[in-house]
Symmetry: C2
Subunit: 260 residues, 2 copies
């Protein structure tokens, strides 16, 4: 089982959309796939028509079980089907918003997700984690659990500022461990009609030559429609440019060597 | 002095851009304006070419002073000029990301910003607060300090989910007090060419008839250029549709009665 996280402290860069797109393609290509929603906002959970406000079992329970040091706690009882073959989800609950305050000391609570996922190693081929747009206990869990990190970025000034910060955070969080996860920078919602976007893309390629994916995910308003219908973009409009770009990205991700 | 907050737990909806646009217009119209950056990401601080990673005095110091119960702590020493007449900023520091963990118990720490701003009542006409895209101590401070709340929203499915949640959060946070702040919903980055956007706008107007501003801020790629140059959008392209829309919004905000 391989664990990927999709993360960026900058908001609205296409994290949730990327998790759903890659998850939808993996499941269509026959891989048993689990999506994990670590955002207290619950956008991934809402995408699949579940309500993070009223949910019974969620990621929150895992942290609750861990804080009570319950050994028998089991991830499996909180996993829900999405209605799409080979695709399941561990939903978020809005109660997660209180987590940072409850878990004032970090001891061991940074590894709750990593430890829980070990118990289902033989049931899934890929796990993709959606992160919140802020550095806190949930993002730390996503970074600590994954072996590969996907960083969606908008080719816009305000979003590029956020990328610098995200990469510094990565160095900060991983100082203690030897290997930070292998990361890849994926420009999303790329608007090829504007000079601004091309200039920002060039400066990204110059600043991070070793980490850029090498292509972009174009803007596609059908992906917004897809989110309303609860269908992964590539399954809704398989031949659109954005879907083909996500498929290209997935081929690159599947071939690269494991790092951890 | 009037205090406004711009907030939404959904990321990337144009909060920072809205704070800068309204701040730029207020200062150009002759009002003494202070912008406050409560986002540990520091996008507002970076917008004005300051580095939230290495900053000496910032919002963080206010919380630090408050936790030591220092009475002499003064907001004024942390305020910085933006280079634009009538426009100053209280910057953020990335150290704010650790705040939620440090302030495990909320007693009184929800009013740090509200109390600090009282000390400069006579120096500014308007204060606009930029919030982070997550519910935590910083957003609570923004909501507790403001008398009017501006909610930027994208007319897209995933972003509408976030609005519901934001409004429920508002009710939750304000249960204890009598009056939540007066709020207005402002659709941003509206793309009039897509059916999806118009349908979502209609459902917004149907769901929140009393809180919708009544117009939209259109997409304008010049606003992205403006953010790279560190100039408020309406001062960079004053006759663009987005700038005119922000001016219309500001006229509405200036006329409505105070609520607190
Ligand atoms: N390729 C695309 N083309 C057009 N719209 C897109 C594309 N990718 C994402 N979007 C839209 O952009 C908005 C932001 O995307 P999304 O919610 O996935 O970002 P996020 O990074 O997860 O946000 P948050 O920081 O709030 O978690 C959504 O409304 C989504 O539908
Ligand atoms: N009217 C507009 N037209 C075009 N682009 C815009 C407009 N308003 C904002 N943007 C761009 O959209 C992106 C998101 O805006 P912004 O950073 O202000 O959102 P935010 O809600 O503050 O995000 P975060 O949740 O990360 O704090 C930025 O790159 C900004 O330049
Ligand atoms: Mg998301
Ligand atoms: Mg912002």
């Amino acid at each position: 089982m391989k664990i990927w996280a999709v993360s960026n402290q900058k908001g609205g860069v296409g994290k949730t959309t990327t998790v759903v797109a890659l998850g939808g393609l993996l499941s269509a290509w026959g891989y048993r796939t689990l999506l994990v929603d670590l955002d207290s906002h619950g956008a991934l959970t809402s995408y699949f028509k579940m309500n993070p406000d009223g949910i019974e079992g969620s990621v929150y329970n895992l942290f609750h079980d861990a804080s009570l040091k319950r050994k028998d706690a089991s991830l499996e009882s909180y996993i829900v089907a999405t209605g799409i073959e080979n695709l399941s989800i561990l939903p978020a609950s809005t109660a997660l918003a209180t987590l940072d305050r409850q878990v004032a000391s970090m001891n061991g609570m940074g590894l709750v997700i990593a430890n829980a996922l070990k118990k289902i190693e033989d049931q899934y081929d890929y796990v993709i984690i959606d992160s919140p747009p802020v550095l806190g206990i949930l993002m730390i869990n996503a970074l600590a659990a994954c072996e590969r990190l996907i960083l969606p970025v908008l080719a816009e000034f305000l979003a590029l500022q956020g990328l610098d910060r995200m990469l510094r955070t990565l160095k900060m969080v991983f100082n203690a461990h030897k290997h930070p996860p292998n990361y890849i920078i994926v420009p999303t919602m790329f608007d090829k009609r504007t000079k601004e976007a091309h200039e920002n893309l060039q400066s990204l390629n110059k600043q991070y030559p070793d980490y850029m994916w090498g292509s972009v995910i174009p803007i596609d308003t059908k992906f917004r429609e897809a989110s309303r219908l609860g269908i992964p973009g590539p399954l809704y409009v398989p031949t659109s440019k954005a879907s083909e770009a996500y498929a290209e990205l997935l081929e690159v991700l599947l071939q690269a060597p494991r790092v951890k």
